[in-house]
Subunit: 336 residues, 2 copies
């Protein structure tokens, strides 16, 4: 057993993969989830790292998700792919379709992949960043389970429904962002409730539809609110249409895991659009993006969305990923 | 001359088209702009109706825009179209490319159109609604001129950069929204300044980058803020990349009309993505969208984004579009 402290990326991947194999995932699925989770740890996105393992395992143990599912890739047109994840995780479904998706965007200039009956429980930016490294713009949209009220509504309908975007720029590291369409995450509300802290104004409503800063009132029959008022609500609605609606998956309000105690992964849909920027701009696209980013810096703009992740990544790839002794022991326990 | 009161849609179109022909637009361009503007009046979207005529004419008179421009449609791949608007308005460029774009989405399942060197001064929802009436999901993104500060920044870089989305649903009228990525429009700040009203909290910053509710401080070297904080700022950034970056058009901060006094139309870029939903969902897509909208209603959700426009439309198509005597006289004056 490796001692706590700092783990090399590959060692963390191997350890997490062993946990998922032990809980009914195929070798390929275990490795894909492990790489995704280790990438979150590597980049300092801890809320989507090993913290999520108990949720994944709860879904696997309760039979809510099938770790051995074999996704079925369906060719639906020269620029359109559809995947039936067959109640498995989204990541192996995306991996199964990725080569064909790249072929389609190279051939046509734009291509779309939509995935249904899939469980998305990781961060969304890892779904788009690799496409930008291959030279493409990528947009990803996913729905989850109902925690967010529609504009003016008093009960949850939407998931926290994130949107991720990646674009090539000058240099190797693309510009990437990943933002929930809710004011904050449901996990952060749970943490605030546990720690007895109030929520910021605008975060949620109580069971009567009234604005509240009490996290317990949000969790007890209330709802989160979208970010940015009715505009964020429109974006949350668009995410439902584009992910669950377009894929034929479940809307967030349809997710019902009551027969699967311990389940934590939302069975929903995801859509990814990939675009070849060199078909568009008659001027060199990457240079133009640098011009834009230069103007943002000159206007005093904050660091860009992905800057912090890349800084963490450089640091942990050099010195290892920090994992406490206790967390490491728990990881090893999960493999037994 | 028709008396003030209520004008039939077609009569308003004819009148507005005469104004644009009189100011150097081709017959086709004049008609397209007139239909767009009359549609805004018809639907009660008055900020994008005849109110904008002086701005359009200022751009035409100053030579900033070419009303006789012939857009050049370039085929850039089986699913990718690019249009050089040749310093004309965006609407005729979109109209020129629309048949080929529909052919491409029918053939491939998704298709993209990107337009550069184009002036977009109308509402954005009319660019997407017709695609949804033809059975397709459509997304449109456009940039404009720098009025909005990036996250943490103190000077404007982004335009108010709207996003429009349309999807078919049950029945004839699609679900459509159109939202600026700024907290509010620059026009509304100007109106508040004129009327001596304060802005809502979060609307803008002064020339020192400090939050202010004084509209004059925003206009005098300050900036608007994005809606929803850093998330809205990320969306504004995405709009710059997707419209100006992808098309090869000008970023909002590059728009410089100082040599064209009276110019008011931003020369920028637009990108439209059109998707065939029947390639995605194995279940009937329109029924599924109705299921989603039913859940929103059941949760007490407010009327849907496009409801008000359709209500106004039904009313004005039956009884005519209300135009005051003074406004009508001004329209006739513009034709001379």
């Amino acid at each position: 057993m490796t001692a706590g402290g700092r783990l090399p990326f590959d060692e963390l991947v191997t350890l997490i993969a062993a946990i998922f194999r032990r809980h009914g995932c195929t070798d390929a699925t275990a490795l894909i989830i492990a790489e995704n989770m280790a990438s979150a740890e590597r980049d300092g996105a801890l809320s989507h790292g090993i913290f999520r393992i108990p949720g994944y395992l709860g879904s696997l143990r309760s039979g809510w998700v099938d770790g051995a599912a074999q996704p079925v890739v369906e060719d639906r047109g020269p620029a359109f792919l559809r995947v039936d994840a067959r109640n498995g995780f989204t990541l192996p479904a995306l991996a199964a379709a990725r080569p064909a998706l790249l072929e389609k965007v190279r051939a046509n200039g734009i291509a779309l992949l939509t995935i249904r009956d899939s469980h998305h429980f990781g961060a969304l930016w890892p779904d788009v960043e690799p496409f930008a490294r291959d030279g493409f713009i990528a947009l990803a949209m996913v729905n989850s389970m109902a925690t967010v009220a529609p504009a003016g509504g008093s009960r949850p309908v939407y998931g926290t429904n994130p949107l991720a975007f990646a674009t090539p720029r000058g240099g190797d590291d693309p510009l990437v962002f990943d933002l929930a369409s809710s004011f904050m995450s449901n996990g952060d509300v749970q943490i605030a409730a546990r720690e007895g802290r109030l929520l910021p104004e605008g975060a949620g409503i109580d069971r009567h539809g009234q604005p509240t800063t009490d996290p317990k009132a949000v969790l007890d029959g209330g709802a989160l609110l979208p970010f940015g008022g009715y505009k964020g609500a429109a974006i949350a609605l668009m995410m439902e249409v584009m992910s669950a609606g377009l894929s034929g998956g479940q809307f967030s309000f349809e997710v019902d895991w009551s027969a699967h105690p311990g389940a934590a992964t939302p069975k929903s849909g995801e859509t990814i659009i990939v675009i070849d920027p060199d078909r568009g701009a008659p001027r060199p696209f990457r240079d133009r993006i640098e011009t834009l980013l230069g103007a943002i810096r000159a206007a005093g703009g904050e660091r860009l969305p992905s800057d912090r992740r890349y800084r963490n990544r450089r640091e942990t790839l050099r010195h290892g990923i920090p994992i406490s002794e206790a967390a490491l022991a728990e990881l090893h326990n999960f493999t037994r």
